[in-house]
Symmetry: C2
């Protein structure tokens, strides 16, 4: 936003955590509750004017965030601590502002972002866990995690990831850089595919998770990923893993 033409004087950056399960994703919609929608409503009440919240990216319905980043413009003189406390008092318990700070007027949570880390959680227990139903993908104990680990280098580095992109979304380039990809052992039964990249295509992490799942089941070999990527054809990759396993862990800025 151009400061001279703007009616607002302050640009506030927020870190936001949410349980995605009750929402139709991040982006404001008329047909049901969204994270952007409840944030705009709460901040609008708090600041006494209509607020537009700009997120670092749109998370899908059911996808969670530990630290989504967003910004909004305001003339409110409320101190940052009142933005956090007042916002949280007005928000549903499934969304929380975890921090707020004043940023340059030209900061934009989406366009200023230099990278993100997503986590995708796989539950490997014999039986599903009721306390993780909306937090992880229950895949059972039989996946071959050593094959899956051998697959990760194929998904790392700067590549054209078209084969892992759903149609839709406004994309300038399908070339992205995956800076780090690894499997973390969160608990004996919970494994997290952690992916840090310069940017992500639509459904890219979930399609990677679903493709690794096929490899874990022996339906594909790690080296098949080479051809899948070369093909630049979504139909060659695996299914999209379900939304509830995905969490936006961190967004990076210079």
């Amino acid at each position: 936003m151009n400061q001279e033409n703007s009616p607002f004087r302050r640009n506030l950056m927020l870190t936001v955590a949410y349980d995605g399960s009750p929402y139709l994703g991040w982006q404001r919609q008329a047909r049901g509750p969204t994270v952007q929608g409840v944030l705009e409503e709460a901040l609008g009440k708090l600041c006494n004017h209509p607020v537009t919240v700009y997120g670092s990216g749109r998370t899908d319905s059911g996808v969670h965030a530990k630290a989504q980043v967003a910004n909004f413009y305001t003339n409110s003189k409320l101190p940052l601590s009142a933005i956090v406390k007042g916002g949280n008092a007005l928000l549903p318990l499934t969304v929380a502002i975890t921090s707020a700070r004043e940023v340059d007027f030209d900061f934009n949570a989406r366009f200023s972002a230099t990278g993100k880390t997503y986590g995708y959680d796989f539950l490997t227990s014999l039986v599903r866990d009721p306390l993780l139903v909306k937090r992880a993908w229950f895949v059972g104990p039989k996946l071959d995690w050593s094959s899956m680990a051998q697959s990760l280098p194929y998904l790392s580095g700067t590549r054209d990831f078209s084969s892992f992109k759903s149609s839709g979304g406004d994309v300038k380039t399908t070339v992205k850089t995956i800076k780090d990809i690894r499997v973390l052992e969160i608990s004996p039964e919970l494994k997290r595919l952690s992916i840090t990249g310069s940017g992500f295509l639509r459904h890219m992490v979930r399609t990677m998770a679903g493709t690794l799942w096929l490899i874990g089941r022996g339906k594909l070999k790690p080296e098949d990923l080479e051809k899948i990527i070369e093909a630049k054809d979504r139909s060659r990759a695996g299914p999209m893993a379900p939304a509830q396993g995905l969490c936006l862990e961190e967004v990076y800025y210079d």
Copy 2:
């Protein structure tokens, strides 16, 4: 149950995990869904006869379980693996049978139990965590955990715990033995009060958690617990901590 008078020949012991948030507690009720109710419905369909499920104890509305234990009588010839798989296929995702085994006819999940471990989770972050809203009590970062730790010996051992008992419930004795009580650091922001005892009075763990919270806030001193216990008067202890922080972790049998 007396085997000679029973129409059933098998007694099956189940381990059951559940997310307590959508339920009005364990015990079957006409006015809404309960864990016992959904288990009896699923097992009744699976075994083709009305089933009564006996739990090790009644958990309150909103209280979770990682390993509640229950038993039920049946003539079904289904193998144990089919009880687990078939039961889970018929149950809502918020309840899961994690194991089943054949036990002596006179085994009763409640009366045969020799002890239990409960966990009570405190969230100590500066801001609430949307992903733990239904799993922990958000108490913020300011509690004095060292005073709370100093309080634990007062709650340990064999004592009359009347001061921590809500009215109601059928109780033969208010003397219980707390075999182990400690605070576990689950993550930097999540602390778990873990209590193992021979048995528990109604709301005893939640009242202990609420009393420790008062101590953590400096409203009571650790040594005040001595007088609180001696008084055998519920009004002397602290408030009952909210249900969502509580989880039945394990039930013990000889």
